[in-house]
Structure formats: C-alpha cells, structure tokens
Symmetry: C2
C-alpha cells in the first residue's frame, strides 16, 4: 500500500492523483506516478514482496493502491522467466525469456489494464473505452467484467477475428473500425467525450505503466536482484519499456540493485517510427506514414510516449532496431520448435533482434539478456 | 526428489518403474505411482513446498523425479485459484475456479505431459507419439521441443485448425485422422509399434496422472490445507480427476489434511459414458456409440481409466452429471462476462454443472466448491 503523486514526464510539474487522472494539465503529456518510499525501507519491502501471495500486486509499496484498497485482479503477473539453453548457446548469450503469454487473457496487456482498471474502479469510474490493436481490448474486456463495469472497445477491422469474439465473450461492446489504431484512438476519444466513459488509451492515463513495470520487478527478483545486462522489448506504444526503465530506477532508489540494464526496442521494418527517430538522433518520433506489419502489437505509427522511450534507450545506452515480419515469424518458430516457448510473433521479433544485436556487437559474448514474449501464439 | 514404485490400479501388483513404463504387465491396466514418504515427514515437506520456486515440480517428494534429476519444464503449474464472488453469491456457494488456461500451451494438459515427458526423457526415450483431441497434442509438441526429442501427433481432422498450426509451430509431425480420438489411439499405437516411439496415450503410461494431481495439491495449499467440500471436473479421459483423488489420499497419508472432497465428473450429454455407467451402477463404462459434442476435450467415448474414475466418485460420495453443449457455452460466457475468466467451454461445463448440482441439492448452501477451467478460450 503506497502514497503517491503524479509528475509530468515532460514538464515535470506535480499534481495530485484525483479521479480520472489523465494527461498533464499543463502540457498535455503523459504523467508518471511517483512514490514516497524511503530508501531505508528497501530491505523490509523486499522481504514483504517475497512473502506475499503471488501476482503483481505483491509489489504494492510501489503500485498505485492505498491502504485498505483491493485490486481488481485475475491473478495476473508472476509469469515464468525461462532459460533458453539451446538458443542461448547458439547466440553465445545467457539468454532468457519472460513468458507474458501466461497472463489471464494471454498477453502482457493484462498487467497494465489490470492496474488502470483497479485505480479507475476505486476512483468511481462507471464505464470504460479503449482503442486497441487487439490484446489491450481483450484485457480491458476481461478486467472490466471482473470489476462489473461496462466497457467499449474500438478495434481495427483487420485484427484477427478471435479478438472480437474474445471481447464479446467478456461482455464488451465492440466497434470494428476501417483504419489503424490511431483512427480507433480518435473514435474512442469521441466516445469518451460524448458518453463520459473513461479512456484507457496508452499513456493517456498514468497507471498502465505501473502495471507493466512489474514485469521488470519480477525479472530482477528472479535473477537474485542482479539486473540483466540487456532486455529486448517489442515496442509499439512502449509502455512496458518505459515501465521497465522506471522499475529499475525505483529499485535503485530503494537500494535494492546497483547498475542498470541496456534496453533495446524492436519494431517491425514496416512500422518503425522509434527506430527512424533513433537513427536520426531525434528526441521524438514523427508519425510513420504507411504502417505495414502483421505484428498487430507493433502496428503503432505514433506513440504518445515516444520521447520517454527514446529517453530510456539513451539513458541505458541501448538502441532501437527493426526486423522484418519474416524474421519475426522465424524467431517465433525457433522459440517454439527449439525451446517449446508459446510465442506470438512480437515475441519472435525479440529473438530476431537479439541475433542482429549480437552480429553487430551490441550484445557481447556471455551477456545475460532477457527477451520479452509479450503474448502467446494463441492470441493470433 | 522421491523414491517410488508402480502399482496396478486394478490388480494391485507391484512393479519397478523401469524405462518406458506402461500398462500393468499382468493385467494390462493403468498403473499408479506409489511413493515412500514417511507420515512423519509431512510438516517438513509442506515447508519445503512453500519455500521452493513456483511451479509444479516443487512438490517433488511426491512426483516421479529422483535426486539430481532435472525436469523438462516450461514453468507449468501454480495457476491462480480465483474466487467467483458474483457467481458464487448467485448460486449460494463459496465458489472458486482453478484457472488452468494459464499453463504454457493454454491448458491443464501441460502438467501431465510435462511429467510424462520428463520421466521418459530421463529414461532415455528417443521419440514420442500421442493421439489427442487437441490440447494434449499441443502440450506434447511443446514439451518434446523443450526436451529436444521428436514427437508425432495423431489428431481428429475436425479439431480446431489452430491445434494443428500450434503443433507444427512447436516442430511436431502432425497426422490428421478422419475419425475420433479412439481411432487416433489405434494409429498412434501402430506408429509406436513400427517406429519404437513412446506412446503417451492417456493412462497408458503412469506419469501423466502425477503431473495432473498437482492441481489439487495447489488448491489445498492455497486454501490453507483445508480440502474444498467439492470439485467439479470436466471429464474426458479423467486423468485429472483420478489425480485429484490420489493427491488427497497422499496428503492424508502425510498427515497434512483431514477429510476429503466430493468429486463431480461433468460430461457432455452428447458423449457421457461415465455418467451412463454411474447411473446404471456399473464399475466400468461401456464405449459411447455416437460421440457428439463441440467440447473436444470431452469427446472421449471410452476412457481407459473408467474404473478408477467411477471408484473416485464412489469413494468421495460425488457423482457424474451431463450438460448440453449449449449449457456449456452459456457457462463459459457467464464466467467471461460476469467474472472476467478466460474459459474454454469445458470450463463453462463446470459452471453449468454446479448450477444443476445446486438445484438437485447435491451442493449445499455455502459449501466451498472449486471449478476446473481446464483451458482458455483461445485454445478453440
């Protein structure tokens, strides 16, 4: 149970976390949650995390939940960190995969949506809306059902048909949109304005990042509080990458770790705004014109958190890298057939990227590297 | 790490667990694993289970693995036990669901197959074969890949197409069969005879039950070592029901629990051999003639462990009950839309059955009841 306030990720102005917390009231940028946990509490907190029942809410001292509040939970988090012995030996790496397909609806989206729905439900929100390329919609549908709150989702009409069925099975109202995630975002914002529904778009509200950061908390705990040398993260909206960076900073502030982890953002060569911005040395990423990729989670032509993603890559001396859809599919196939990992192609993208990063010397012999398999192949 | 031998489930003759352990050499019936753990070790064992890393292999004292042996693992087990507050209140029950869709390939099959592949790999098996209605094939494909051992699967050609794709993604050799699971079983046996592949058919080898029983170990541990009043289990081959019964017996032998749990087997009204045998007071279940159900996991016209299933129902004063496919689908929809549970229709069958059991007075007001959601809806 924590005490927290909000701080703008861009202009750093501080605000109180009232109901329906949203973008920075001053500059319209994403806000980040800041906690008041003293450095001296580090060891006590670590032991509490170890002893509590499993699931992401055991990290409650640095999650947006106050004393006597109960989360809206489906048992998300505490997914396995699995060693990839064969593929690691081939690449000359100490290679692991964080298997996020094991969450309630099959993807890492459950963590962020679970945190956001929890905070919103506690704050009295009465209906939700989200634009999504797929998995976030299913996650919202499930968590809204768990909270007993109605949800509407706006999905591009060419996402896999299973997504729509899943959302409806969870009782959500689904609108299929002839367009991209950005078009869905516009329609969701209109729906929110006209109905009063709370908009859970990526980084519009500050709590999805908090749920996502628990991936990194678990990784570091499993690795005995030694941060890995590098992570490879499939980057659409980038919430998990920003969250991972934030998690490491918070663990350092608690004195629980030293050093850091290089962060590598992977995108599809058919939709790579962050990679292009990174190569051109920009601080923000202009919208990608013609997004073309079968990796729905990576088909994000403009990320609201672009400047935070780029800041995280720079601060950790990582980089951004693009791989083709074919390379992603081959990566997923190798994760499956060589190691038995149930990987969606976004997960496959991380293996393809690790190979490239190794070839170009950005990953060195024997380094400990964690891939993020952000969803299981069944979500496709 | 355990010491164990095999005991025939029918004639009780004892044999040593050599490589390729199979049916009873004397009477051709399923064998069960028996462990030598003294009653006095109960408390020590319970604390060891609590303190080990998560996953089903932490129960190693009563699993088929010896000192210094390592399991073939994808982080299976330790799935959440989730309280169903709304649906429980409606039914007048203290209602929970064991969410088995959270296993590596999306179903409870991962536990049994993980245990069987582990033992076989340790014993030097060089290739696998399995007949399956779907999820067991995907599980074998994944665990065989993890073990680095080739696998062949025989699947009815009308199972969901995703199953075949999944198996191939994990590198398995897939044969689609124009027939039922029993036809696949015959072809798998022929394949085993001609190639030397080890046949992992349900209850042909003794270790799948051991993996499945960990579901019940986890349930009882989560409920603070108080067995629930009843479980409702979707029953095809029945391995998990037999395993649950065995788990409770082993916990009683260790002095860790008192009392027991009534077991209710749910089948589809279109394929209900156990229900029919139960109603007729038989000790075994004659083959069901014309199996018709969209619940692939329940389309098992003849279960090798029929006599063990019926024995478990009788010993625990439970029963067997059939529900229609429509009722199952409605059950899954309610689990999804009222509680956010990602349930396949076999999971939905347990909610439909709980309602019937409550209506007929077999479940009483306020009883603690655990439903088994054996897979997630994405497996369909």
């Amino acid at each position: 149970m924590s005490q927290f306030h909000l701080e703008c990720g861009r202009c750093a102005s501080r605000s109180e976390p009232g109901p329906r917390a949203n973008l920075c009231p001053r500059c319209d940028s994403p806000q980040l949650v800041r906690y008041q946990v003293p450095h001296s509490a580090g060891n006590v907190v670590r032991e509490a995390w170890r002893d509590r029942p499993r699931g992401m809410w055991r990290f409650s001292e640095i999650l947006p939940i106050r004393a006597h509040e109960l989360p809206v939970s489906l048992g998300e988090g505490d997914t396995p960190l699995i060693e990839l012995t064969r593929l690691g030996a081939e690449l000359g790496l100490d290679l692991w995969v964080k298997d996020e397909g094991r969450n309630p609806t099959g993807s890492f989206k459950d963590r962020g949506i679970g945190a956001a729905v929890t905070r919103a439900a506690l704050d009295g929100v009465e209906s939700f809306v989200i634009p999504s390329a797929g998995n976030a919609a299913a996650a919202l549908a499930a968590y809204a059902a768990r909270a007993g709150i109605p949800a509407s989702v706006f999905i591009p009409c060419d996402t896999p048909p299973g997504v729509v069925r899943r959302c409806r099975e969870f009782g959500a109202d689904v609108t299929e949109v002839d367009g991209l995630i950005t078009d869905c975002g516009r329609l969701a914002a209109e729906h929110a304005a006209s109905t009063g529904a709370f908009d859970l778009s990526t980084l519009r509200e500050p709590y999805r990042v908090e749920g996502k950061k628990t991936m990194m908390l678990e990784i570091v705990e499993t690795l005995d509080w030694k941060p890995p040398d590098a992570i490879v993260y499939p980057t659409g909206g980038g919430t998990g990458l920003i969250g991972s960076w934030k998690a490491l900073e918070e663990l350092r502030n608690l004195g629980l770790i030293e050093g850091g982890t290089r962060m590598y953002a992977v995108q599809s060569s058919g939709c790579a705004p962050i990679v292009r911005a990174w190569r051109e040395g920009l601080d923000e990423a202009p919208t990608w014109g013609d997004a073309q990729t079968q990796a729905w989670g990576l088909r994000v032509p403009a990320a609201r958190g672009d400047f935070l993603i780029i800041r995280a890559l720079r601060a950790t001396t990582g980089s951004a890298i693009a791989v083709s859809d074919d390379a992603m599919r081959e990566g997923a196939r190798l994760l499956g057939s060589r190691e038995g990992i149930n990987a969606a192609i976004e997960g496959g993208a991380t293996l393809a990227a690790a190979r490239l990063l190794r070839d170009t010397g950005q990953l060195s012999e024997g380094e400990r590297v964690v891939l993020f398999n952000t969803g299981n192949m069944l979500t496709y």
